[in-house]
Subunit: 309 residues, 2 copies
Amino acid sequence: MSRPTRLSGVLSPVITPFDEQLAPDAKRLARQCHWLLSQDTGLAVFGTNSEANSLSTDEKIELLDSLVADGVDPYRMMPGTGCCALTDTVKLTRHAVELGCAGVLMLPPFYYKEVSDDGLFRSYAEVIERIGSDALQIYLYHIPPISNVSLSLDLVERLITAYPDNLAGIKDSSGDWTNTESMLERGWDGFQVFAGSESFLLRVMRAGGAGCISATANVNPAAINDLYCNWQADNAGEKQQALDELRSIVQSFPMIPALKAIVADYSGDSAWSRVRPPLVELDNKQVASLTQQLRAAGFAMPGLDVSTS
Amino acid sequence: MSRPTRLSGVLSPVITPFDEQLAPDAKRLARQCHWLLSQDTGLAVFGTNSEANSLSTDEKIELLDSLVADGVDPYRMMPGTGCCALTDTVKLTRHAVELGCAGVLMLPPFYYKEVSDDGLFRSYAEVIERIGSDALQIYLYHIPPISNVSLSLDLVERLITAYPDNLAGIKDSSGDWTNTESMLERGWDGFQVFAGSESFLLRVMRAGGAGCISATANVNPAAINDLYCNWQADNAGEKQQALDELRSIVQSFPMIPALKAIVADYSGDSAWSRVRPPLVELDNKQVASLTQQLRAAGFAMPGLDVSTS
């Protein structure tokens, strides 16, 4: 069997809408996914910015089923499936593979700290062995600022060596360009290195990377994708600068509530602003400041679905 | 309705045995719980040292049911029920309350970092409101070295003020005596402050605390309980010192695999040594060093069940 095509380009950790009871709202999520696809942006549902770790495994499985039933192409999806519990990770990952998802983005178990590379290797190996399918395409999720569990270069290489057919790539959200660059320099065959945000997009493309998986792709997908497609053009540096300027506005607020406030504002659908605890929504003053800055910057979300239910 | 009696004394975050497939072994766990109860030690099952965050919610629910079916008194139990996902925490906590557990030990949601007190308050409030029963007795679990999410004194006070019938106490595993002392000085009525290990047992009792919930109570329960019962005796300082000496041997190894290795060694039941990833078992050299030191110190585990299946 030939190896499945691996993902590249721009993906969004799709924000998760909640209803009044704080239950996930599958219909709104599907609409948002269709919009993102229309902007040539892939779907890293259940990422950090999706509040995925505020959802139960069963909630995530139901959402995945709903998305596919709603016509979202699983081959554009890279759901986050790494949980604290081995059994949750196996259950959710297996479901994603069975649905035909192109890949999964897999956090290491993140409760226990200062665990060894041997223990982390064993975590991933158990999942791979239990699922036992080359259709399983794992993108490692390295995000030490939040998970507080780091995936060392040596661990990544050991996993690739042991399971070359399953280790498809990595999202590097360390914020440390040297780490991303080091991975690219190792030249792992067919291993897709994604930057953790569009801040590193031009650099990662120039160094041979695969693209980026970025929070702000929830609201600014077309412009990010434009740089991805045209990174070799003369004006790529200007495009990077424009992305950076937009991002600097958004990230001066708490990221997840800010993304939701933007979608709520530009769609006219206030339900989008809800977050699950332990997060809190932006307050009115923050929303006013954020939207004023975005409008002053000429920011738009063309084609965004503005239906409210 | 009068308020339920709140827990005090010594509790053990009971280590969780696994079978060859790394599935939880309910029968071995029940045997260990009965032994701990015979040593006057309560059951904080599903604590950090239980590898609880390597178990799914459904696995924890099944284990709780098995323990109660096996005759373990739920009124001696304080299961850990705080998960990342609100819905998991509600499901597991509700189950524990329905089974009649005396209390639950509740981590805050621990994936998202730098969350606000407002967000953490809302997390606990949602759980309390959804369960809606005074039978719910929450012991907060403050363990910033591992959860990386801190429960401030002001947050604790705000929760007690809002939900005095549900906020039963706290386990302070900050390792910061000043924090424990500050909570006791606030004099919250009926709020049980437990030290996070026996290292602080004498100090917490002298300052008006409720006892301790300690990893090493898995292996040294009788001696820890002896100090709890006799903290006002003249020789309490010597007892504390003896506990400290034993603990210093154990904690010079990775704690959870060390506890399991000790139970495996003293019961003759090697199955006890298994851990779930991301943890790894002690290697043979570590086991030899640990058991040699314990025997040299005259350590024993009287009454431990030595049946092996």
